[in-house]
Amino acid sequence: MPTVSELPAVHAEDLTKSYRLGQHQTLNRTVRKLLRRDVTSLNPVLPAVDGVSFDIPRGVAFAIMGRNGSGKSTVCQMIAGITPPSGGRLQVRGHIIPILALGMGFNGELTGRENIVILGSVLGIPRDQTIAATPDIARFAEIESHIDTPMKRWSFGMGARLYVAMAICFDADVYIFDEVSAVVDDEFRERCMAEMKALAEAGRTVIFISHNMESVRELCTEGMWLDKGRLKSIGPIDEVTAAYEAAQHHVDA
């Protein structure tokens, strides 16, 4: 029986998620169904996450590594409570802020300030906290001069900055940053990494997904490597990144 302080932020047992491939509603499918033909062959099942068990401890920066389509984002969608598992069990402790797709959810017609209010509310942040955090967010993202301009007039990079800054400045127990550093410049990325590190030091859990092994090693102390929906390796970050990189070079060669 673990003591209270050892309870992990995320606990997954035999976690599984399957998807049906192919198009789900087509005229072709409807006609086949009416003629009582078999339609299951149109939609083969893909186990995107296949029986994965892991613990993410509280107060660490934890990396999830893997190639495209390895199940990283699906795991994160399940941790965020956006989609339920098809099998297994998942436990998440505390409030969670998931940044799963940079820039998604912004409305171009609304200003930066108005968009922060919307995303704050769908992230479950109380309205007064969202409004109080807005100056911090604008300062951190360095977009103060644009905060009251409709976001359709912003560059994509500025929107991305606002998105990441927003997550960093809102308070939560668990944060997910899924490939957030790809479109921002080095200076901003460095500042984000420093803030994420501070969040972990202050007892929050930061789940970090990136294909950049340098960033992963700089920020995270632990991590896991997923391959085709299965867990390949989990543990201290140096071991996991070494194993992952060795496998990548093997593929390249």
Partner: protein, 303 residues
């Protein structure tokens, strides 16, 4: 990158309640694990009726922003709210009072009569047109954020309530100038609750089904167009022959409009229509909730 001053402060703060971040923000140190634990398993149901009330804050925010978006970069803005029903009422009056002279019982003027039907119909139509797409038009929020999804329907319902609250006083003033008020007028708030419940649950059902079947994006506008004719909005029930009256009464919206005409104008309602509407309201409310609860968990995968 180095921040000597903040770095020092960070170390000073190590045993204190707060952590000073390199970006200069003070955040509270979290010691004890959070009490809130959520468990996710392969279950089919995870929505509770309480979500409707719990999501009040999100709904308010989404509704006010949806309202803002609708009139962004629009020269007349919310004036459109009044202009649309006013023009429609004018056209109906011109045709059914000027071209085809329809006789309304109790010497009620055609404009007053049509205003009541249009108030109810307008709310129903606008809510279905916008709210029927509540989930698909917010696909990004559904797919990437953990907010209770019922909020997207509630927000658009709230936005559609605004024109209704503008039309309602106009309707009551017209009624006061025409047939006058009575005890029956006091039933109006109940009828308001009725039309909101019926419209809201129909919308929830359509929005839910649209996640899987985009066919409704083609079907709903068409049904609404037909609905304007097969619902007694522009003409009184009594004008139709007996057999047609029975057919019209099978339209669940007919009874609701009949009830409004009774409460506001004192016109005696078609009893069959009232019964059909009452039964349909209960049926739709239960069905809509059950369908939503069953489908909601997999919205992010299917949308």
């Amino acid at each position: 990158m180095h921040h000597p001053a903040t770095k020092e402060a960070l170390e000073d703060d190590y045993f204190s309640e707060h952590v000073l971040t390199p970006g200069g923000r003070r955040i509270q140190r979290k010691g004890e694990p959070p009490a809130e634990v959520r468990t996710y398993e392969a279950v089919n149901r995870r929505v509770a009726l309480g979500d409707v009330f719990k999501s009040f804050d999100v709904t308010r925010t989404l509704a006010s922003q949806a309202f803002k978006v609708r009139y962004k970069q629009s020269a007349l803005g919310p004036i459109w709210l009044v202009a649309q029903p006013a023009v429609l009422l004018g056209v109906l009056t011109l045709i059914f009072s000027g071209v085809v002279a329809i006789k309304i019982p109790n010497h009620i003027s055609y404009a007053t009569f049509a205003l009541v039907g249009l108030t109810v119909w307008g709310f129903f139509q606008v809510t279905l047109m916008t709210g029927g797409q509540a989930f698909v038009s917010n696909a990004a929020l559904v797919r990437y954020f953990p907010t209770p999804r019922i909020t997207f329907v509630l927000a658009l319902l709230a936005v559609a309530l605004l024109p209704l609250t503008l039309m309602l006083p106009a309707t009551l003033i017209a009624a006061g100038l025409g047939p006058g008020f009575g005890l029956r007028t006091l039933v109006t708030p109940l009828l308001l609750a009725w039309i909101i419940l019926f419209t809201g649950t129909v919308t929830l059902m359509l929005a839910t089904i649209t996640v899987r079947f985009r066919d409704l994006l083609s079907l709903v506008p068409f049904v609404l167009q037909v609905g304007l004719f097969v619902t007694p909005i522009a003409y009184p029930f009594s004008l139709a022959g007996h057999k047609i009256q029975v057919l019209l009464a099978l339209n669940p919206l007919s009874g609701i409009i009949e009830a409004w005409r009774w409460a506001v104008l004192g016109l005696s309602p078609n009893v069959l229509a009232l019964a059909v509407s009452g039964a349909a309201t209960l049926l739709v409310a239960v069905a809509a909730w059950r369908i939503f609860v069953r489908e909601e968990p997999l919205f992010a995968d299917r949308i």
